[in-house]
Structures are given as structure tokens and as C-alpha cells.
Subunit: 215 residues, 4 copies
DNA sequence: AATGAATGAGAGTTCATTCAT
DNA sequence: AATGAATGAACTCTCATTCAT
């Protein structure tokens, strides 16, 4: 899955990034010090600054990485399905799986699918991140267009608003399911997966072609 | 809308809280120091600690306040409407209005609608926050039950899962609309409000009674 | 035991002092804040400064009080005995009792039996403290002189050096017994009281008249 | 006398410790801030925390160092003497010399000859301190046993109680001599050394074999 | 006489970052 | 390329003390 273009110190950079990712995941970005990253990765604190200009750049690198991984996940999901609903479910499942495997990346990816347009001073890494976000959007667009063509989805849904609103609603659902897992399981009395399935299905029903979908 | 019980005449506590809220909004909680709050509010650092035991309590106070304000907003929205869809739209609008007026509070309120059940050492403020969250949930439940009774909503929707999934999806939608306002307006070419309306309407369609709602 | 000369606010001053004494005893002087004293005594923080110019003066007042109480204890001890050894034992016992009842006062009293002579700017309270220390020394001197006269103590012991060296050695013994109570009881295997008795007896043997004392 | 094992070349740790020792001596531990130590030692405050984890560890280091130096002093004293009384006097002199050279260390060492047994969470430095204290006790025991064997000391004195009570009494004497130097010299009219000699000799008489010692 | 309110000064500690080697 | 050493700046929080009322 080689997508690392420039390979400056490569191995070390990846080691550091991997350690940082793990720690960020456990304790948050602000809760993780460069010192801890240095000790956990086995490098000296100063060496971190050889491979990343500062903490911000290290975070930016991780964001990019997370976006790319998410893109892979989604692409895989789209490939494997046949019917629209099946492919939709695959995407949902892959999002959930991704959030469960990389909770920290998930949050990062969500917040960074696209970028503040008013800025002009983008780091190369940020531009790359932006482009990956676009690729994900393209994949989603393809799914919807195919769905409409196949008569599985309502013909009159506007594609771009649907992509973006779904993106927001699905991530909101997933994060709710995660943050309030205990509350949901105790109050509603259903497991997290069932809660998510219900949410995704509800959402699908809103765009499904009512003639075909006999729900 | 005052429900602050105690607080003899202490306008200072409110001054400090208001300043903190503004700074937290601009720079995040962790990014705002007590020193900054002191300077911006015109009090000495030590005075902050006269009115709030520590930073955590200051944040907790803000969270509670945000929950209570949100609750008022939602109650007002539920009262004014007549049909289910109208009342639903009022809630959506009040959520959006609330998020636009108090963006930071909105984020706080979302994250705190309910509480980690594994803990037992709750501060009084946290318990109050929790109870307010429950009241909001009750209001939502009432809306759905009334809607089903009136034949406006599908009879077979499970109430609690719907409340919680809607809560997650609506907040996800609102935050997407806010965070990516510029991107949405430039890429999709529709104003933020329209994007939100479309999203809320999509969501409503998923639970509307298909017999009645002629969408 | 009225020895308070001037009675400014009397009751309140005593209340505050008593509370401070209790807290100092529990947590040390530096470990006790004026705030804590205020809350524990039921006065406002500002009121403390009505009755004591500052924390230092409050401590000074307590020192004087401790000296006076110690003096009373020692005087009582000297009165009740008959033979020299009996009176010596009474003093030892009263010292131990005093240290056990007022551990904090004991330490203060020890450190302040007399005062830095190079200073000239004594507070009235410090002078009083000094005078009480002198009275204690006089009582000790009387004991030794009586003992020599009675043939119970060696005739050739120099009185003043004996008083002061005994004062140091006895207090050192008592404090050791207190600070290392657990260690002594576990390592030596004898209770604290026995350890103290042994120490005092050893010390007495050093000045006892060897002709009379058949140890 | 170097027994500092580790410490590659770090003269800085010693610089800081030495500065701290001086300041602690002048103003007490609680009265000395890390800031002051930093300024007085010529390092930045942050650098202090490179060499010592926190203030407690810095104090702990000083305590251990003081114990080890005291141990060296005492060992030297025991080696050089011949008769029991001579060796006893050497110990006394070395204690006095030590207290005069390192008054703050002396106080620390006294308070730490042994440790609260109820605790189990000892720092490595505390354990080492404890062990050094035990070594000092062993040296004292040897002196007494030798003295009894040689017939210089009473045969029936219990060894452990004697060690601990002497330890307390000697340190009490030394501290009295130091704290009240001016008072003693002016009131008694003898120099500090003579006062101490008298005290030590008094103490020795209490355990000396009366048959041999013709006092 | 008593205090609510306020604060300057400073405590110990941590952090991201730099730089000579 | 890699790092040991060092630090300025900032952090949260506490304290003894003052003063208008």
C-alpha cells in the first residue's frame, strides 16, 4: 500500500509516528508530551525534531495517514458489495470498524475531510490531506449515482448535499454510539452494534426508492 | 431564563464564566489558561479561585449552564408547534440557532447529554447536568409519541433508539454544517441553511409515516 | 489559671489560638493556612487579623502559652515529690506527659526556652516567654541544690551546666522516643515508656551521689 | 570519601545539591523555593527538574548524603581510638565537628536514623538512607560491646536501649549547645566546647564501670 | 468589631523547543 | 544523523494579607 512519497528517514519517521499515534489514542494530543513520545519510541527528544519540525507537524502527518487509511477502507467496502444497499452497509460497517480500530484517527479524519478555504498558507501535508478527502467524496458520489441508476435510490436526491449530510450524520451517529456506549446499552437495553444498525438503516430508508424498497 | 438558584448578588461569577466561555470558544478549553481568563475578565487570577474552586469546576458550571439553556430552547420549540413536522422543524431550528449563538456551549452540551455510568463520584453540578439531559430526552420522547399517536410518524419505530440516533445524527449534521460552512457553500453551491434544511428533512422522511406524508 | 494580662477581645483571641494550636499540632505550622484556622474557628479570615497582627504573632502567642503551661507542669512536679529522685522522676514524667498532651507545644517550648541575645527588638510576648523560661530554669536549679544539700546528688556537679545539659539531653531523649516509637518498640522490643524510664534513670545515675545511690 | 556510585560526570547535580543544602540551612526546607535554588545555583528552574525529579527527591538526596557523611565521620572516630573512653570521646567530637561543619545535614541525619516502619512504599534513596542508619547503629553497638568486654563499661547495661537513648541524648545536647550558644556562654560563662565536654562526660559516667572509672 | 471581597506574589511543576557537539 | 543538556515560558493553584464597609 505504498503511498509514502518522499522517504526522508522513513523508518524512524514511521516509528515515531506510530508511537505518537498510539499515545495520542490513549491520552489525547494535548495529554501526550513530546517527552513521552520520545521515551516510548526509543529516540531522544531532540531526534523527534529531526523528523518532525514540531508537534503540530507530527499531528498533521498523522491526520494525513488517517485519511489515507480511511480512504482505503472505504474503497474496499465499495468494491466488495453488489446491490446498493449491500454496498451502503459495507461502507457503514467499514466506518464503524475503522473507528473501532483507530478511534483517534477517526476523529481526526472526520474533522479534516476538508479544509478552511480562507487560508492560503497550506503545508504540503495539508494539501495532500485535502486531496484524499476529495477522493473519499468521489467514492461516495459514485455509490449514490450507481444507486440511482439501479433504481435503488430515489431519483430526485441531490447528490452533493446527500454526500455531505450523510457524512455528518453517520459520523455523528458513530461517535454517539461510541461515547455513550454504556448509557445506550443500559438505558435502551440494546447492544451498541444493534443501535448502530438501526441508525444506519433509518438513514438509508430516507434515500431509498420507496417503490423498490419494501420497508 | 434565570434558574441559577443561589448566587446572592455575585455578578462576578457570571462575568468570569462569560469571559471563560468566550475564550474557550476561541481557543478551546485546554488552550485557554486561567491567567488569560483573569486578564480578559478584569479580575486577578486569585479572584477566579474565589468564585470557582478550580478550572474543572468552571468548565462544569459552563456545561451545566449550556445544558439548561439548550433545554429551554428545546422546550420553547416543542410548545410553539402544532403538527409533528412543524414541531420537529422547530426543534431543528432551535438547535441550529442555539449552536450559532453559543457554538462552544453546543459542543459542550452534546458531549454531556449523558454521563459515564461507571463513575460514582459525581459532583453536584454533574448530577444536575445529567438530570437536565434526561429532561431533554423526555421532551424528545414526548414529541415522538405524540407524532405516532397522531399518525404522523411510523407506528413501528422504536422510541429510545430513535431519540438517541437522531440526537447523534442531528448534532453531526449541525457540526458538519458549521465546520465546513465555507467548503459546502463553495463546493455544493447552496447556503448553509439550505444544506441543514435538506439534512433535517431527509432525516424526518426516515421516520415519517409513508401513508400520510406524501413525499 | 488566669495569666493573660491584657484582655483585648479575650474570648475570641483564645478561640482562635486554641483552634490554631490544634491545627498546628495536626499539620504543622507551615502546613496550616490562615484560611483553615479561620474556617475551623468559625471566624472570618479578616477577623483573625483583628486579634493577631499576622501569622507570626499568632505563633508567638502560642509559644508563650506553651511555656507557661510547661512551667505549671514542672512546678507541680517539684511540689509533689519528697526525695530528690522522686522529684526528678516527677519532672521526667511531667515532661513526658506534657509532650504527649501537647506535642506541638513541647517542640515550641524546647526551642524557645531562651532567646537569641544578639537581638534587641523583642516583642513584648517574646520577653514574657523569656521570663517564663527563666522561671523554669530557677525551678530546676532549686531541685539540684536541694538534692546536693540532701546528699542525694554529687556535691561537685556544676549547677548551671547541669541544668542546661540535662534540659537538652532529656528533651532529645523524649523526642527520640516519640519520633521513633515504632522503630524502638519493634527493634528493641520494649515499650516506649520503658525506654524512657531507662533513659531517665541512666541520666540520673550520672549525677547521683555514688555513696548514697546503691545502683 | 566518594561513594556516589552513578553520576557519570554530572557535576551539576552536586552543584544544585550543594546550593540547596546551603539555602535549606539558612532558611529551612519549606522556606526555600525551587526558584531560589535555581537562581542561587545559576541554573534555570527547569534544569533543576532535569537533575532531581522534584523537591522531595532533592531533599531525599541531601538526607542520604548527610547520613553517609556522618557514617564516615563516626567510622573514622571509632578506628582511631584505643581505650573505650577515648573512642567515645572521638565519637562525640566527630559528632560535634560534623554538626558544626554541616549543621543542616546534622539535623537531617538525626531525624532519619530510622524510618517509619508502617510505610512500605519507600523510595530507593530512602531505603539506602535507612541502611546507612543501621550501619551507624552497628558501629555504636560495637563500641559498647567492646567497652563491656574491656571492663570499661558496666556489664549490665542493655545494649540497644543504650544506643538509642544515647543517640537521642547526645543529639539533644549538641543541638542545645548550638541553638543556645550565646545564652550558655553569657549565662553560664563557659565556652560552648566546655559545655559540650561536660555533657558528654556526664553521660559517659552513667554507663562507665564504677569499679574502673575513678570519677 | 467584624467581614466579604479581592489580590500580589509566588509555590512547584511541565512542556515544546533549541543548540552545540 | 542523533542526542545530552538546557531553558523560557507557561501552567494550575495557594497563601498571607489588606481594605472598604
Amino acid at each position: 500500500m505504498g503511498r509514502r512519497k518522499k522517504e526522508p528517514g522513513s523508518v524512524h519517521r514511521q516509528n515515531i509516528a506510530a508511537t505518537a499515534q498510539r499515545l495520542f489514542m490513549q491520552k489525547g494530543i494535548e495529554g501526550t508530551s513530546m517527552n513521552e513520545i520520545a521515551q516510548a519510541s526509543g529516540y531522544s527528544k531532540a531526534t523527534l525534531y529531526v523528523y518532525f519540525k514540531n508537534k503540530k507537524e507530527l499531528v498533521g502527518f498523522l491526520v494525513l495517514e488517517s485519511m489515507e487509511m480511511l480512504y482505503e477502507h472505504i474503497l474496499d467496502a465499495l468494491k466488495t458489495g453488489t446491490s446498493t444497499k449491500e454496498r451502503y452497509n459495507h461502507i457503514c460497517q467499514s466506518l464503524v470498524a475503522y473507528q473501532q480500530e483507530y478511534p483517534f484517527y477517526f476523529q481526526l479524519a472526520l474533522g479534516e475531510i476538508n479544509i478552511d478555504f480562507t487560508r492560503t498558507d497550506f503545508l504540503p501535508e495539508e494539501l495532500e490531506t485535502f486531496r484524499t478527502g476529495e477522493k473519499i467524496n468521489d467514492a461516495m458520489r459514485q455509490l449514490i449515482q450507481d444507486g440511482i441508476a439501479a433504481g435503488d435510490l430515489r431519483a430526485n436526491i441531490p447528490i452533493l448535499p446527500t454526500i455531505f449530510s450523510f457524512w455528518g450524520m453517520m459520523s455523528g451517529l458513530i461517535m454517539t454510539a461510541e461515547h455513550k456506549k454504556a448509557y445506550i446499552e443500559q438505558t435502551i437495553g440494546i447492544p451498541q452494534e444493534e443501535f448502530l444498525s438501526y441508525g444506519f438503516w433509518t438513514l438509508y430508508r430516507a434515500i431509498a426508492n420507496p417503490d423498490k424498497e419494501g420497508v
